[in-house]
């Protein structure tokens, strides 16, 4: 993310959380937090505890964020860059606020007949390949809960559509043939399959590194009559360090009811 992207991200974030923008410049935002966001971001549980107890007028804080630093370091407000704790706190909060969703395609309806909307389960999934090193992959999968068809890059397809949180007039939702709970399972096993088809060289290499270190460790203690505790501690630590594993984590997801003419195959 460039500084410009961060600025845009922040502006969208505060807008979508219904915060009033008090000032807005190219590289500065001054916002009035809502009570909810104050609780999420400002880390002052005691204030909110007392406010609730005394029933005083709630007074959420204002936040001034800059994405460009004045050359002499002047200018009030918090400087935000990609590594700043505040941004990561905001990132974290989006996960909390944007995890579960249900949306309907906003179909334009001319004649008076009713239009069926097909239920889709959409999941954004992070796959982490981890040993003493790590890398991640993101998948965006959509599953048609009527016919079981699965599509990748689901998120970009959604982004091209008009979506609304309320079911549009003259539309009805078809009932799922596949339950959401089995839908999740299907997507998970699809992901698993794709992981298994991947090149496993990274895990073979990690096991090799693991084995080398373990052999050194065994050699180090080979003359010991009884293996001391430090041997077992180190052995366990090597396992935790090198043992290759893949962690599949759902970032967010939800139900999407889309019109049938969607060309998803």
């Amino acid at each position: 993310m460039l500084q410009k992207d961060i600025h845009n991200f922040l502006e969208r974030y505060f807008n979508s959380n219904d915060c009033e923008l008090l000032e807005r410049y190219e590289s500065m935002l001054h916002v009035q937090l809502t009570i909810e966001l104050d609780k999420l971001l400002m880390n002052r549980p005691f204030y909110w505890h007392y406010q609730q107890m005394t029933g005083a007028e709630p007074n959420p804080m204002k936040l001034k964020l800059r994405t460009e630093q004045a050359e002499d370091g002047s200018g009030d407000g918090e400087f935000i860059h990609f590594g700043s704790p505040r941004l990561h706190q905001i990132f974290q909060s989006t996960k909390q606020l944007g995890s579960y969703i249900r949306l309907y395609e906003n179909v334009m309806q001319n004649n008076q007949s009713y239009i069926p909307l097909v239920p889709w389960l959409g999941l954004n999934i992070k796959v982490s390949y981890q040993c003493d090193r790590k890398k991640d992959l993101l998948h965006s999968i959509g599953l048609n809960l009527i016919n079981g068809i699965m599509v990748s890059e689901f998120q970009s397809l959604l982004q091209a559509k008009p979506l609304t949180p309320k079911i549009p007039d003259y539309c009805y939702t078809m009932s799922s043939m596949i339950k959401p709970v089995s839908g999740i399972k299907r997507i998970e096993s699809y992901i698993e399959q794709s992981i298994l088809e991947d090149d496993p060289q990274w895990s073979i290499d990690a096991r090799k590194r693991w084995q080398e270190d373990e052999e050194l460790l065994d050699h180090f203690y080979q003359d010991a009559e009884e293996l001391p505790e430090s041997y077992h501690v180190e052995k366990q630590a090597l396992k935790e360090l090198y043992e290759p594993k893949v962690i599949v984590q759902i970032i967010n997801g939800g139900m999407f009811y889309l019109s049938n003419h969607t060309m998803m195959h």
């Binding site: 979508s16 590594g83 990132f91 630590a237």
Partner: protein, 559 residues
């Protein structure tokens, strides 16, 4: 299968609950933002460094980046960081720590440092690396905080010890790790039992001439890397020790150690311009010096005073105040003979005849001729106080500095010196982490007998960030013990011109870590100046000879 697959189920259960309860549901924009945030945090490759873009305000030098890369990619996160003093080992360690944290590979982290550096490490991690490190102050910190900085002495003591040994640390960093070279110590045993995935040992002087010390340090990091003890004994310590063997050992050590030397970094280092300033004692000062020297000829006194004569001789070369304090302490010592007490009192009376301080006058002259800030280093508190007073008499403002100052007092004094005073008068290098690179002039008012301390003094200003040449003025009082030290030893080994780091290697290679004691012995056991000269020559040739040799166990730091 060569790996396992784990599914995180937390999302699914909550989602199904919301399906049943018809919400609550997020809005579309926040849903997209959550995904965008995650996308920006994705680690796209096993290799490479993510950390630098998280800390854009930190200037990371190329050799520091390379060390971080090497430790992570070639050493699997277990390494001895052994750069020479001043090249930024803390930055390297912080960079590696940050990288593992960003990748989610390290969460629980323990940093063990000397007690005097706890606050500074904490501060640097928070401000430079934006890592919320906490100094260990209360017992609950061990368990409740993820990144803890503590001294090893605290951590190994009950009740902390059991708590600490029970934690599953992902990463452990140990500063000044060369102190762990002896495996019979409690500290060694403690570290050996810590559970650690990744481990960084930081040291500026890992290369000792004793192979078992190398063995012990490496065995802490990666047991078995140098074989087990018996094997190691056999291969490297017994008669089989030879060049071929040594090369092999060096290669093995290079696999777990990175060592950059100044010349490897490609950085332009400012020059050191060294001047010896001869000082002639005034007649009364000379008289006092001779009287003290004469006490050695009195055998009963000499036995009682033992090394004190040498101490007093050195002190006369600094200030009469310094001599006075030592004499006063001697005369008040219990169990001292009347003869010794009287001789101390006589000398104290003689001090009163001293009417001026030749060195202070010279110092003033130099300070006045420099249109810039000056640091004066002295060995003695009494001299420090005197100089502060003396300079003030001449309208020059100065601030004192001692190693024993608390961290914030050190910072405050540094601040005062930088912004308000012309002179800083320090009794010690002030420990690591005090950076005075805005100053380019150092007066060595008197010389320590431990050459490493001179390196540390100069290292405060001759370091990364120094943009100008550094001027060093060494005061040498003619025809005294001080001149011997300077002329016979320090100048011959080019102490002042040599860059930091060379010396510690030389000293440790010849097994001369207690060089101070050797020097003392030379002065004490020699009857004539000629004898002193010959012995010093021998010492010097030992040091310069080994200077020309290859560095036996030193890693080359780049392969």
């Amino acid at each position: 299968m060569t790996f396992s697959i784990q599914h995180d189920q937390t999302w699914a259960s909550d989602f199904l609950k919301r399906m049943d309860e018809d919400g609550p549901w997020a809005n579309w924009e926040l849903y997209q933002l959550a995904l965008e945030a995650e996308k920006s945090l994705i680690i796209p490759e096993f290799l490479g460094l993510q950390a630098p873009r998280h800390i854009p305000h930190v200037q990371i030098l190329p050799h520091q980046l390379e060390v971080a890369r090497k430790v992570i990619e070639d050493m699997n996160g277990k390494g001895i960081l052994a750069d020479e003093v001043g090249l930024g080992k803390t930055i390297e360690a912080g960079l590696i720590m940050k990288e593992y944290m960003i990748r989610g590979l390290a969460k629980k982290i323990l940093i063990l440092v000397p007690a005097s550096l706890v606050i500074q490490w904490t501060h640097e991690l928070n401000t430079k690396f934006l890592i919320p490190a906490v100094p260990q102050k209360k017992a609950y910190v061990w368990e409740q905080c993820d990144v803890v900085v503590s001294s090893i002495d605290t951590a190994k003591r009950s009740p902390h010890r059991d708590i600490v040994l029970n934690q599953d640390y992902d990463l452990i960093i140990i500063d000044e790790a060369h102190k762990l070279k002896n495996k019979k110590t409690k500290n060694y045993e403690f570290v050996q039992h810590l559970k650690k995935k990744y481990c960084l040992l930081l040291t500026a002087t890992p290369i000792q001439n004793r192979v078992e010390e190398v063995f012990n340090l490496v065995s802490l990091l990666k047991p078995g890397h140098l074989g087990n003890e018996e094997y190691f004994d056999e291969a490297y310590r017994s008669g089989k020790y030879n060049v071929q063997n040594e090369e092999k050992l060096k290669q093995l050590i290079n696999k777990v150690m990175v060592r950059n030397r100044r010349e490897d970094t490609g950085l332009e280092w400012p020059k050191r311009i060294v001047k010896t300033i001869p000082i002639t004692l005034s007649p009364t000062e000379r008289q006092l010096y001779e009287s003290i020297t004469n006490t050695r000829k009195n055998t009963t006194l000499a036995q009682q005073h033992a090394f004190s004569t040498i101490t007093l001789q050195r002190e006369v070369c600094s200030s009469r105040e310094a001599v006075f304090l030592t004499l006063k302490a001697m005369s008040e010592k219990e169990g001292i003979s009347d003869e010794a007490r009287n001789s101390a009192i006589n000398l104290m009376q003689e001090i009163e005849n001293v009417d001026r301080n030749s060195k202070a006058e010279k110092a003033l002259e130099i300070i006045q001729s420099i249109d810039d800030k000056v640091i004066i280093f002295t060995e003695y508190r009494a001299t420090q106080l005197y100089l502060q007073w003396y300079l003030k008499q001449h309208g020059i403002s100065s601030v004192p500095f001692r190693g024993g100052f608390k961290r914030n007092k050190k910072d405050w004094m540094t601040h005062l010196f930088k912004n308000h005073a012309k002179v800083l008068i320090a009794t010690e290098a002030g420990g690591e982490g005090i950076n005075l690179q805005f100053c380019q002039h150092i007066i060595n008012y008197d010389l320590p007998w431990n050459p490493m301390r001179i390196e540390q003094r100069i290292g405060r200003v001759h370091r990364i960030g120094q943009e100008h040449d550094v001027h060093i003025y060494n005061f040498a009082t003619e025809n005294t013990i001080e001149e011997h030290i300077l002329r016979l030893l320090y100048e011959k080994i080019n102490l002042f011109e040599n860059v930091i780091g060379d010396l510690d290697e030389i000293l440790s290679r010849v097994g001369m870590k207690n060089i101070e004691q050797h020097i003392r012995d030379i002065f004490y056991d020699s009857d004539t100046d000629g004898e002193v000269r010959i012995k010093m020559d021998n010492l010097t040739s030992l040091l310069t000879y080994s200077d020309g040799e290859g560095d036996s166990y030193a890693s080359e730091g780049h392969s």
